[in-house]
Symmetry: C2
Subunit: 459 residues, 2 copies
Amino acid sequence: MREFDEWYNEVVERAELCDKRYPVKGMNVWLPYGWKIMRNIDAIIREEMEKTGHNEVNFPLLIPESFFKKEAEHIKGFNEEVYWVTHAGKNELDERLLLRPTSETAIYPMFSLWIRSHADLPFKIFQIVNTFRYETKMTKAFLRVREIHFFEAHTAHEDFEDAERQIKEDMEIAERFFRKLSLPFIASIRPDWDKFAGAHYSIGLDILMPSMKALQVGSIHQYRQNFSIPFEIKYEGIDGNHYYCHQTTYGMSERVLGAIIGIHGDEKGIVLPSSIAPIKVVIIPIIFKGWEDKVMEKCRSVEEELKRIGIECLIDDRDKTPGNKFYDWELKGIPIRIEIGPKDIENNVITIVTRDGVKKRLPENEIEKIEEELKEFDERIYEKAKKLMEENIKRLEKIEEAEGIVEIPWCGKEECGKEMEERLDMKSLGVPYSHEEVDGTCPICGMRATKLLRLAKTY
Amino acid sequence: MREFDEWYNEVVERAELCDKRYPVKGMNVWLPYGWKIMRNIDAIIREEMEKTGHNEVNFPLLIPESFFKKEAEHIKGFNEEVYWVTHAGKNELDERLLLRPTSETAIYPMFSLWIRSHADLPFKIFQIVNTFRYETKMTKAFLRVREIHFFEAHTAHEDFEDAERQIKEDMEIAERFFRKLSLPFIASIRPDWDKFAGAHYSIGLDILMPSMKALQVGSIHQYRQNFSIPFEIKYEGIDGNHYYCHQTTYGMSERVLGAIIGIHGDEKGIVLPSSIAPIKVVIIPIIFKGWEDKVMEKCRSVEEELKRIGIECLIDDRDKTPGNKFYDWELKGIPIRIEIGPKDIENNVITIVTRDGVKKRLPENEIEKIEEELKEFDERIYEKAKKLMEENIKRLEKIEEAEGIVEIPWCGKEECGKEMEERLDMKSLGVPYSHEEVDGTCPICGMRATKLLRLAKTY
């Protein structure tokens, strides 16, 4: 674990994803390469949001204290974590403003103005913004930071059932989204004592990192009417009466990038699924005396062909040895490198090496097969990650030491869940979203248990 | 003027660009349509930045007070305008943090770590972020807000000459950028008493709004070594000695959108150049009894054809009259609408109406000509805007009442410039960037004047 943490901290720097030397703790600088990857991740989110009829908006960062305080549970959950703006210029503000830790209390006053009738529902928006949480635990690039690159979708519905349908759609979005990143995940309904501040219930989307700690990479919340009542979000029904909306949210953050680094990376560096790699293929000329022109000519024709079929690529013609170039691009996680040397020219082939080490030759008139190779690469890194996760989800019948994620029959009582947490020194992830029924015995109280509680060490 | 202001405030709302009812003054909510247009503007900036070798980064929002105070002039300029974070959770912070009003003092501590040798130069980055200024003047959507959607490029160079070359490149970027938005602008070297806080000199890029007030839509600054010395941004030269870098910045903001609204808009609503219109062509079925299927079929085939050639379009099949649909899309500034009715089908044509009122028929097998029509539309709105600007830049020889932008021979003395400002009740925009030489007389002191001072009422 110690080893993984060290590797992680180092690779984030060496791959030039972010710079942690900015003079405010937990606030890092996104470097060009890291930012490009994050923007590619955002592009996948946007695509999913568009497909599902969510409109993108952008809300102000600052929230007046009085609005923040409208939902009692919400403020309890975030009160210790918010940054307060108290002055502007030399004036003390009449009312303190806080930097959004999440945007419920910024968005819902506007929902109450925007939503009038059942015809406006469902109402679905999202935004991608910077949020702020004064974390007291140790900070870690992308995984625990104080300025967070954040995605949040907010929806309003006529009734509980329609909000539940939204949560199903969110789960489908999550399936497609994480699949494109070759990231296997599990979904668990968080125990009541660990749900989002103000939620009716929360679903956590977790990934098992190689450190054997679970990382929450997304969350979906059913708010019921917990926010619509204090924020007065009402609609006129077909019957002419007014009703409070039911609401949901779906949130993710730069932790997704942290998961990609952690799950796919290896001793050579990071490994990027092709969906987000800023460069999908790097072409490396292997130059021998007398072959300079021919090799470069072939490199350029391969580049042209790849661009024609829409594959981002680059010829690395820097004045370095091929070995040094291999090293650089492996560190940066480029899915495929193409080597082109005299032998490839003589045999009318190109040599490809995938980031996970598969080497093969392709006839040069079949370059379009690179697309398939990228797909297979994505598939392999997904399967590898899935195997790691599945091997480390363990069903226990009693409380015993274990690594990874454990699933234990649970009677459902908070005290039993909390005792499991304490004795295992783990945190509850919750009950599987699949609602799998079991017929077991709670190892704490000995009562009949029909559900499982998932626990793990967590980030 | 009063009339223009009212029209502007109204159209911003009616076209659903932003919502000004958010409970913090000067901080508005970007609505989906406005945000899409802004993101399209950002995409043009990004394209220009990529073309000119600037890398995109993303810096933290919060700046420690001690860093903010390193450059004396800079703090004088911004001290009255910054928002201060003083508390986090229940703790008072050891050091106050400010919300960036601009990012020099966030970025330059990192420049001093990143830049080592002449081989690192020129060093060119940019970011698109939210910035904050506590404006005391009346706020106005996009034109004067307290949370600003902001673009800023920062560069470092070996010497003054190379920094000057950067400024020439910035001017070329500005030319291309504003041309794509059909916006004519003028560039003026701001007088010393109005340059950016900390700059050696500043170039303002101004647009003349129909209110006859000038709007600064961009600025380019030559910093010389004013920041590199306090922030210790040094490089090792070829000769092995260490030198302070020379620096420049180029900034723009959501004001660009304000300018587009103001310059191109008319009594029907906003008018969008095709480069940023989220929908370039809207197709409106004109349905008569018995023709429903045929009309819709033709609409769909036109839509398909337009999509094939890469033109964003939409069939408006809402249950509304064509007249109501025209009204909606004119309000939203869509460049071209296509009307398809029985007559068009009979004659194998489509009827197009551009947002500026040109109506024509195109043979239906020449739909690709829409592309040309869009270009011509962009050209026409540019020429119209240019005419407005040129007609309202007036050369004066003495101080007399005038509207728009005036150019007056100026001896170059601050006191004379300031007296012109006072007597005209205008602000100096500065000396034309073209450095046009004149042979005139300063109307204030009667001395020989070889340059012009531009003045205008300003936003």
